[in-house]
Symmetry: C2
Subunit: 100 residues, 2 copies
């Protein structure tokens, strides 16, 4: 069981993500970001790196891919909303995209 982010913990966790292109969804307590790469190999290569980290965290994204674009939504079903795991995976994804 993962605790839902609330109060100042939530603000502190979200601030760097919102500054980095993530947005909070209107219709559910989840964050979303669109990643655009040079081509399919770059996009799917990044997904593969992120997938391995997701499995290590036992926390998996909802994501879709069309050629060089990947749409990612993160939320924690156990917590019925955003948890520290979402912030952690979002940061990993951003870090991986920077070096992709």
């Amino acid at each position: 069981m993962t605790d839902k982010l609330t109060g100042s913990d939530r603000d502190d966790a979200l601030a760097p993500l919102l500054a980095n292109g993530w947005t909070v969804q209107d219709d559910r307590d989840a964050i979303h970001k669109e990643f655009v790469f040079k081509n399919f190999v770059q996009a799917f290569g990044w997904m593969t790196q992120a997938a391995i980290h997701a499995e290590k965290l036992n926390h998996h994204p909802e994501w879709s891919n069309v050629y060089k674009t990947v749409q990612v939504t993160l939320t924690t079903h156990d917590a019925d909303g955003l948890s520290p795991l979402d912030a952690k995976l979002a940061k990993i994804m951003d870090d991986l995209a920077r070096t992709a």
Copy 2:
């Protein structure tokens, strides 16, 4: 440029796919299938195999993944509809899923 499937070529190409769980979309000339695996590693492993084949064909899916489920839509933008490449990639995906 890839030619759009028409007439009996289209029927012949689609028949085995429709018999295997693919459906033609209502709103566009595309085929869709949901693949469900045992877990995330199996699902993403299958995606990785399919991604390599897609890149070899230079024909890429629209797909989304949530944990053990992968939704796939295939169409050919150049042809403004279904082409032989979609039938080819769909069959490869089915074959890979059988051995996953």
